[in-house]
Amino acid sequence: MSKYSFLNAKLRARISKILPDELFDELGAAPSIDAALALLADTPFGALEEIYSRTGDLKLAERELLKSEIGLYKNIREHIHQDCADLLDALLSEFEIENLKNAIRLYFDRKIRKRSVESQVHYILYDRIIHDIPIDIIVNAENFEEIAGVCSGTPYDQIIKKYSNTVESEGSLFRMEVGFDHFYYQNLLASIAKLNRRDRETALRLTGVEIDLQNINWIIRFKNFYDLPLEAVMAAIVPGGFNLDKAVMGELYSAQNVTSVLQGFVKRKYPGLSALLSSQTSDSTSRLLLIRRILEEIMKQEVQRILAGYPFTIGIILSYFILKRNELKKIRTILNAKHYGIDQERIESMI
């Protein structure tokens, strides 16, 4: 109990400050991005409004949002018991991996696709997150060898070396990015395995739902943008899902009526959500999006279950991160939608 008592109180106080749904409705209904940011002025996200008013640059404001999110993890890391520090590092590595992926994408666009990256190089993070990765060098690199070289001493150099030839031969970063994602989840599951029984069960449950969500996102991308054979899809699927194992994922990729695949477990484990499955959707992509929504609802239910249950577990920390990530995602989505003039109804469906 002593391990989490301080953090539990601290995080519950922070959870109470997460923006309410009504404010998101107001943001969605705001007539312009300026008006939406003005609504955020009196919230903990007031800095976004200040940056946008000063620069008119939404991406810059988003970068600040990302920095504050990383700061949040680092702050919790300072207060956490040593037993859970590995898990926090694993969670924090998601930001480092995403940033590294972004830097490699810039290199790839510049060097291999011969595109200008000048408008994007300013919006990635150059600060240290966990490891000393010289993002500058990666963006400006001449080849993958150089990138792997500057990443030596980090867990990423092997992944870069392993997939650099495939990237060049296929002209796509797809496999390397899947490799990074797999590494992230392996590392996360390994750090969860070090926790005590109660924490492990809680963390596995939440991470499992997150893996389900990640996999379903991949499946949606595969169906829409790539024409991959089933084996390639199965190789990309991250193991460790909570509700959807590899076999179900395979079925989802191949099946026409994807909702029927899910009916069994949704009705058994989350009867409250089974009504969603009966929604009439026209094509398989819409159905997959519906499944993503169901999984997001499942994640919400899991978080609510943890918050209402025994408070002194790792669950409170993970729940906080999930809630916070959702909050930030919603803000990003709404602001970008406002920037591109997307209407309120569509925004509501997006968040």
Binding site: E22, D25, E26, A29, A30, P31, S32, D34, A35, A36, L37, A38, L39, A41, S53, R54, T55, G56, D57, L60, R110, S116, E118, S119, V121, H122, Y126, P134, D136, I137, V139, N140
Partner: protein
């Protein structure tokens, strides 16, 4: 005050030609919570239709939000309209205002675009600056760059007429072009760019007729100038950025008066139409219905009749009568303003069901008594009261901070309670300065009370809180009975856990325990008395399940009577367990009041002891810090525990937070 405000439902029929004036009267009064008349459609579907305004509600709302968006961008929060604005209501020229707003939006967007362009320039310069700072590049590095530097520097000359061509070409790339001087019609430049752009740069340079030149010796110290140039360029761009930002502010400031006026008119029209959205009309008449507090009935009748010159039919139905439309009756609190902080605590738990007891007036004395018993000290109470007063002063005129203002008032009340109990316990910043009016809390805890009173030891303090808890629980049970009687649920009155049998068992249990205590825990009450006090009501509870079974489920389940019998016994057993364990834990829970009070005294004694080990300023500092710590920590925990006891030991006995708050459409409505 004890019950929620009595509500009444109005069903009105007015002539179509009076519709506008009646709507205005309804908005002016702002007391009606409307029911959408479509609920009547099952009776009269063919003859009723919605009122179609000239401009739709959605259009007005959108426009109002657009104006509000501009005002908020300028840091202006519009105030709600008043009666004068209602009198001056004008038809909204949506088209004209939309054109005006679109023009403003276009101007603002082009300014934002300009800001973005400048920002891109700034980012490019910052990129170069970061590289220069990171790798310490100097002019000599043109030929020998620092390891991992991505900066490329070159000195060259080009025809002066091509300078613009060069500048235009470099516009989209991070670069710095420093003029070094002129020689006839050739301009000399030092160009700093990113190596990654070398391909594009070379093309641009070739187009501009650039030719490299040797580095003159007088330029060896140019590194300093590079920084100066970068800083100057950054400063210039930042200045421009600031100017554009001010232009955006100015754009809104310039239009502030007009926008505020338009917003008010739009808001009035929006509210007007929100009311009319609940109307249904036939060829000549308009009907509407809704709830309002009974006390407002006469005034509203007068206002409607005045608005339509008596050409109306008004039917009033009291809550609970057969003629009412809809099931949900909105709940309005009926408390004086002084109780607002305590009403906030009740609302936080839930809205009482219509017609049931509103616990607010009881929460006030109970909460304050609990707080005072846990945190009784004159000096510390005064500090709390002062802190609360500052809060009230600080958030006095801010409507948006009403919650914080109520919290500040709650702190003042808690401070007052603390002062009162401090006088009763004779505690002044943890010191016994005057004779306590009730008992010497500090003396009892320290084990050397100087004053004789009815309370002499810790057990007496614990007993006080137990008696207090029993009273609170009985009050909760009494309220439950009143609520049930008002709803005429007689079976529930008898069999509910908080009903008469539950209360009987609880009272019997208390008697049995007090009997045991008075007999040194060696004797129970006589068997017959014990049976009458606890056994009989427990046996009577056995009737509950069969009663429900034969009343509600008998026909469906009669075939399985044996199973039903086992079920009755199980349910009875579980219910008895719940009653015994529930009431016991509820009562013992109040011992936390004594616990917190004792902890408060102990902490103060500890600080005085520590202070006694030192002298002079250190001693005073320890006492000040100790008091501050106690005020913050103990004050907070006493507040939380008092709230917890109210919520879980008191409210759960009678309170159903299932009510819907009364939200009439008025000029002050805050709906979005």
């Amino acid at each position: 005050m004890i019950f929620t405000t009595e509500m009444i439902q109005l069903f009105a029929v007015v002539l179509g030609r009076d519709c506008e004036r009646v709507t205005e009267a309804l908005l002016r009064e702002g007391v009606m919570q409307f029911i959408n008349i479509s609920e009547l459609e099952s009776d009269k579907p063919e003859s009723l239709s919605a009122i179609k305004p000239q401009v739709s509600l959605a259009e007005i709302s959108d426009l109002r939000k657009q104006v509000e968006g501009f005002l908020r961008t300028g840091g202006i929060t519009p105030s709600p309209p008043n009666e004068k604005d209602l009198n001056n209501r004008a038809v909204v020229d949506v088209k004209r205002e939309s054109i005006r707003l679109d023009k403003m939006a276009r101007e603002r967007d082009s300014m934002r675009e300009r800001q973005r362009t400048i920002q891109q320039e700034i980012l490019k310069i910052e990129d170069i600056k970061r590289q220069v700072e990171l790798y310490g590049i100097g002019i000599s590095d043109v030929t020998l760059p620092a390891k991992h530097s991505f900066i490329s520097m070159q000195l060259g000359k080009l025809p002066a007429s091509n300078v613009k061509l060069l500048e235009d070409g470099l516009k989209d790339l991070p670069s710095l072009n420093i003029a070094m001087g002129r020689e006839n019609d050739m301009a000399h430049y030092l160009l700093i760019s990113m190596k990654r752009d070398s391909e594009s740069i070379n093309k641009i340079l070739a187009n501009a007729g650039w030719s490299r030149v040797e580095l003159p010796s007088e330029l060896k110290s140019v590194k300093k100038d590079v920084f100066t140039e970068l800083a100057a360029k950054l400063e210039k761009l930042t200045g421009e950025q600031k100017q554009v930002e001010e232009q955006v502010d100015e754009l809104i400031r310039k239009e502030e008066k007009h926008l505020s006026e338009v917003w008010v008119n739009l808001r009035v029209n929006e509210l007007f139409q929100k009311i009319q959205a609940n109307f249904k009309s036939s060829s000549r008449t308009v009907i509407f219905t809704g709830w309002l507090p009974s006390s407002k009935k006469d005034k509203l009748t007068r206002m409607i009749k005045q608005a339509c010159e008596d050409r109306c039919y008004l039917e009033w139905n009291e809550a609970g009568s057969t003629g009412i439309i809809g099931d949900a009756i909105p709940v309005s609190f009926n408390n004086p303003k002084t109780l607002a902080p305590f009403q906030m605590l009740v609302k936080n738990f839930g809205i009482p069901k219509y017609g049931t007891i509103d616990p607010t007036p009881f929460v006030m004395p109970l909460y304050l008594a609990m707080f005072g018993l846990m945190f009784g000290d004159v000096g510390q109470g005064l500090v709390l009261a002062i802190a609360g007063s500052l809060g009230v002063h600080f958030w006095k005129n801010d409507k948006a901070k009403e919650g914080l203002r109520n919290l500040a008032w709650l702190i003042i009340w808690c401070g007052g309670s603390s002062v009162l109990f401090g006088v009763l316990f004779g505690s002044y910043f943890g010191k016994s300065l005057f004779r306590p009016l009730w008992f010497d809390y500090h003396g009892i805890i320290a084990g050397h009370s100087m004053y004789k009173s009815a309370v002499n030891d810790i057990f007496d303090v614990l007993a006080i809180t137990i008696y207090f808890g029993i009273s609170v629980i009985f009050l909760g049970l009494l309220f439950n009975w009143i609520n049930i009687i008002r709803e005429k649920k007689w079976a529930e009155l008898i069999f509910d856990k908080g009903g008469i049998l539950g209360g009987w068992i609880y009272a019997g249990g208390i008697y049995a325990v007090s009997y045991m205590i008075s007999h040194d825990f060696k004797e129970l009450p006589p068997g017959a008395a014990l049976f009458f006090l606890v056994g009989l009501p427990a046996l009577l509870l056995l009737i509950k399940e069969p009663y429900h079974f034969f009343k509600h489920e008998a026909s469906a389940e009669r075939s399985n009577l044996l199973f039903a019998l086992i079920n009755f016994l199980m349910e009875w057993f579980v219910e008895l367990l719940e009653i015994f364990s529930g009431y016991l834990s509820n009562t013992l829970s109040f011992m936390r009041v004594a616990g917190l009070g004792i902890a408060h005294v102990c902490l103060m004694i500890s600080f005085f002891t520590i202070a006694g080990m030192t002298s002079g300023i250190a001693s005073v500092a320890i006492l000040i810090l100790g008091n501050m710590l106690v005020i913050c920590l103990e004050g907070l925990s006493a507040g939380i525990q008092a709230l917890r006891l109210n919520y879980y030991e008191f409210f759960t006995k009678f309170f159903h937070g299932t009510g819907q708050l009364y939200t009439p459409i008025s000029l002050n409505s805050t709906d979005k």
